[in-house]
């Protein structure tokens, strides 16, 4: 009974938040609705026993990613309401609605079939048992079977940081480039002159 109520409340929160993301005219409202959806998903993670992922979901998604979104929105000052009534591409929205109905139907049928087909074969990594905590089981698999993927993940994060810094950096104005080149050339000349005078003295 409690599980059912939790699921229903979380489902309503998730769907209202998701619809709010795509129907809000203001990007800031979209970002706040996204937080609502992410919290709902975190609740369902807890309901299914994935406690660590629920915590990470709240910390990383709601804490870091959405804050990054809001930071960019307010940094760029693009938080003006958008006119959603005009449709630049004729027939796009009816087509999107048709695709939506078709894909939700297909995915739901696929989901029902997948649960029926699942064979109940034994776990190939570690089973989720109730005696050990979720974090212990997850960590054991993550640091043994998936260790290489975990290390590659760190490389990915470094690449992302370097790429973000390179792209978000303001390009250096041409004037300072010339000034710096002149300065360095002057230094080079100075060094050459200095050596020449030393040679002359010798």
């Amino acid at each position: 009974m409690v599980d059912t109520v939790v699921f229903l409340v979380a489902a309503v929160v998730i769907l209202v938040g998701a619809l709010g993301v795509i129907f809000s005219r203001n990007p800031v409202h979209s970002a706040l609705m996204l937080v609502m959806t992410l919290f709902g998903v975190a609740v369902l993670f807890v309901a299914q026993g994935a406690h660590f992922l629920a915590a990470v979901q709240v910390i990383v998604y709601a804490g870091a990613i959405v804050v990054l979104f809001l930071f960019v929105i307010m940094l760029l000052g693009v938080d003006t309401a958008e006119n959603l009534s005009s449709e630049p591409l004729a027939g796009q929205r009816p087509a999107a609605a048709v695709v939506a109905v078709a894909s939700v139907g297909l995915l739901a049928v696929l989901a029902v079939r997948a649960v029926q087909v699942s064979t109940g074969a034994e776990a190939t990594t570690l089973p989720l048992d109730s005696e050990r905590s979720n974090i212990a089981v997850l960590a054991e698999v993550l640091f043994t079977d998936y260790l290489f993927a975990f290390e590659v993940t760190s490389v990915l994060l470094v690449i992302a940081v370097v790429g973000a810094v390179v792209m978000a950096r303001r390009p250096r104005p041409a004037a300072t480039d010339e000034l710096e080149d002149d300065g360095s050339d002057g230094d080079d000349l100075g060094v050459e002159r200095h050596t020449q005078t030393e040679a002359e003295l010798a």
């Binding site: 630049p88 649960v115 990594t125 698999v141 998936y146």
Partner: protein, 101 residues
């Protein structure tokens, strides 16, 4: 009484579809990015559900990696969006269609 797994899967199918529709319909690059996050969350919910159904922790490990990739993707994508919108604050996804190869 526990909730049947099918309901979790149907919910994540609906969430994925809402995200996909938003990606197709909206033109603000930031909102399109948020719709990608919705789709990733739908997939994460599916992974956790199947991890629960099959009694195997591997699904939760995959969700962990999806979270990391999503964070990296947001950083790089927002970097690109900042670079575009700084030059033209009113740019939509249509305005950068010349970037196609």
């Amino acid at each position: 009484m526990t909730v049947d797994e099918t309901w979790y899967l149907v919910l994540s199918a609906m969430l994925f579809t809402i995200g996909a529709c938003g990606l197709m319909v909206r033109r603000n690059p930031l909102v399109m990015f948020m719709c990608v996050e919705l789709m990733l969350n739908a997939v994460n919910l599916t992974f956790v559900t199947f991890s629960n159904v099959l009694n195997d922790v591997a699904g939760q490990v995959v969700v962990f990696f999806v979270l990391v990739v999503a964070a990296a993707e947001v950083v790089v994508g927002l970097g690109i969006i900042v670079a575009i919108l700084r030059r033209r604050p009113e740019a939509t996804a249509d305005d950068v269609s010349m970037l196609r190869g």
